[in-house]
């Protein structure tokens, strides 16, 4: 339960977020301001926002729960599952997205392939984000109920109101700037818990010795790389093929909620730098979300549900004041993820669906209003659908399950689209639809096809492979766009063509 000082900290935080959002409203005059901050954001704010968006309250609860059950292998998601992908995004994809002046990633797919690909990708993300909102709301409500005894629906509606006010008011600028504040609060609050936890268990050596003494069940708790035949969801083969090669790239390159703020950078260099700076910050996230799970093994051994570990640790370790700060950090994690999803989904709806199919060439002011209405509608939908996630046994795994359905296929068409000029519009469409179909089939028959507990990493990999092969085969059977049509959409294609024509003219000059 929170004390008086804790309530003060939480209320100050929430009021501060609302006021910041309302203040930033004065900078929003157009759809470009609402969705892309007028392309004025510096790299440091974007990088911090990426991390805050990526790490939510679910990670505090879900990752610490996974660490409680399986050990540090879950940290792969923030280390190898982020850094290589963010570097690939920074140097290959983001600069081209930024130079193209895009609002959405499906917009790139539309220019590179055709409007069918754009629409399928956009609708897929919209549906995913809409249900993801519900999962996040439910996760927060479960935690708030455990900590404070608040009724589930009170927590959900309170969070929705605060996030709704500042997101609808200030658009992406409010989202990013509140993310900056929220990331700092998350780091400080999370670090306080980890510091006190380590103090309680006798430091790193105390923690590792005590867990090692708990028997064979905890033998692999300090191994990042687990055997291929492990019973956990994190075999090294799945981490390498499913996470590193597919899911991480799809998430950091194809996820609108992540990449949209890079599109709002004030320069191409800022767009690139934001991803690399974000990768650096993200490497510290496991310390905040993973170590509490390990510490809880020592302090609260034998929990039936690992997801309870984080909440119990807060109650055990934190004094008044710090409890409020960590509670604010948890709310910050939740809000920073929800606000990004709201703004990104509104962008997808407004630019890829509404502007494309419902009302073309309306005024910029009109699209701004549509974006704001879409934000409110999504928020209400997320609140209403939040109980759906209670049907899934693990909150975090539920999200990964959703993601793995289409991450692989989307990344396959993005990769081939950016690096292979021969990829055609029909190849991209077939690869995307075929890959998602393969994902669905793999999930339907997962009991007979896979041996590990939850095969979402393998499903990602194989659906990526399916999307890649289908795109390649269909592309080779269909007519590609002229190369000039692909300038600015395929990595360094224009530069290479210029180099070739330069060589040709020089060679011709010598011959004459």
């Amino acid at each position: 339960m929170l004390s008086g000082i804790d309530y003060v900290v939480v209320v100050v935080y929430m009021v501060g977020m609302v006021l910041l959002g309302l203040y930033l409203r004065k900078f929003v005059h157009s759809a470009g301001d609402y969705f892309l901050s007028g392309r004025t954001l510096p790299f440091w704010a974007i990088g911090m926002s990426i991390v805050a968006t990526d790490i939510g309250l679910m990670d505090f609860i879900g990752v610490s729960g996974q660490a409680y059950r399986y050990g540090i292998a879950v940290g792969n998601f923030d280390w190898i599952g982020s850094v290589p992908a963010m570097l690939l995004a920074a140097f290959i994809f983001v600069p081209y997205f930024w130079k193209a002046g895009l609002y959405t990633i499906p917009e790139y797919l539309g220019r590179r392939y055709n409007d069918y690909v754009r629409t399928v990708a956009s609708l897929t993300w919209i549906i995913f984000f809409a249900f993801d909102l519900g999962i996040m709301f439910w996760a927060s409500a479960v935690l708030l109920k455990a900590l404070m005894g608040w009724p589930v629906w009170f927590s959900i509606i309170m969070t929705a109101v605060v996030v709704g006010i500042y997101t609808v008011s200030g658009g992406l600028t409010a989202v990013v700037m509140t993310d900056v504040v929220q990331m700092i609060i998350m780091y400080v609050g999370g670090a306080a818990l980890v510091f006190l936890g380590f103090y309680h268990v006798g430091g790193w050596s105390g923690l590792s010795d005590k867990i090692a003494a708990m028997g064979d069940a905890y033998r692999n708790h300090f191994e990042l790389i687990l055997p291929a035949n492990t019973n956990t969801p994190f075999p090294w083969t799945g981490i390498l093929f499913g996470l590193t090669f597919v899911m991480a790239n799809a998430y950091m390159i194809g996820n609108q909620a992540i990449v949209q703020r890079c599109l709002a950078a004030k320069s191409e260099w800022d767009a690139k730098a934001s991803m690399i700076w974000g990768a650096f910050l993200k490497m510290f996230i496991p310390v905040l979300v993973l170590f509490p799970g390990l510490i809880a093994i020592v302090i609260h051994p034998g929990l039936e549900d690992g997801d309870q570990a984080f909440g119990m640790l807060i109650r055990t370790l934190l004094p008044p004041g710090l409890t409020g700060l960590l509670f604010a950090a948890l709310l910050a994690g939740l809000m920073s993820s929800i606000d990004s999803i709201l703004n990104s989904t509104a962008a997808l709806w407004t630019k890829d669906i509404y502007e494309k199919f419902i009302k073309k060439q309306a005024s910029d002011r009109h699209y701004l209003i549509v974006g704001r209405i879409a934000t409110v509608v999504l928020l209400v939908f997320g609140v209403i659908t939040s109980p759906v996630s209670s049907f899934f046994p693990g909150i975090y795994v539920a999200v990964q399950t959703f993601l793995s359905f289409f991450q692989g296929p989307i990344f396959s068409v993005l990769l081939l689209g950016m690096l292979w000029p021969r990829a055609t519009q029909w190849g991209g469409l077939a690869g995307l639809v075929g890959g998602i179909t393969v994902s669905a089939i793999l999930y339907v028959f997962k009991g007979s096809l896979f041996t590990i507990e939850d095969p979402f990493l393998y499903v990602s990999w194989w659906s990526f492979v399916a999307g890649f092969i289908i795109t390649t085969v269909v592309s080779l059977m269909t007519t590609p766009y002229p190369r000039e049509r692909l300038y600015g959409l395929v990595y360094r294609l224009h530069e290479k063509e210029q180099g070739r024509s330069g060589l040709r003219s020089r060679f011709g000059g010598v011959g004459k």
């Binding site: 190898i80 140097f91 090294w236 083969t237 260099w269 690399i276 650096f280």
Partner: protein
């Protein structure tokens, strides 16, 4: 095959080596990026604007983490 059963015989030390080699290869690829591409969008580039250095720092950090654990 879908479970990568054919890789279960690989020793964990080799598996770890695969991860470390991946970071090293990414580092080499980063170093091969043309410098003018790195600085695009800047009017007065300074040495600390060199994003290759930032990326290598990220990679060194993660390499050490995987080397230890």
């Amino acid at each position: 095959m879908l479970n990568f059963d054919w890789l279960t015989g690989i020793p964990m030390g080799v598996a770890k080596g695969v991860f470390l080699a991946l970071f090293a290869v990414i580092g080499l690829l980063v170093l091969m990026i043309p410098s003018d591409y790195i600085y695009e969008g800047l009017e007065n580039p300074r040495w600390w604007h060199n994003l290759k250095l930032w990326a290598i720092a990220d990679l060194v950090f993660i390499f050490i983490t995987y080397y230890i654990f």
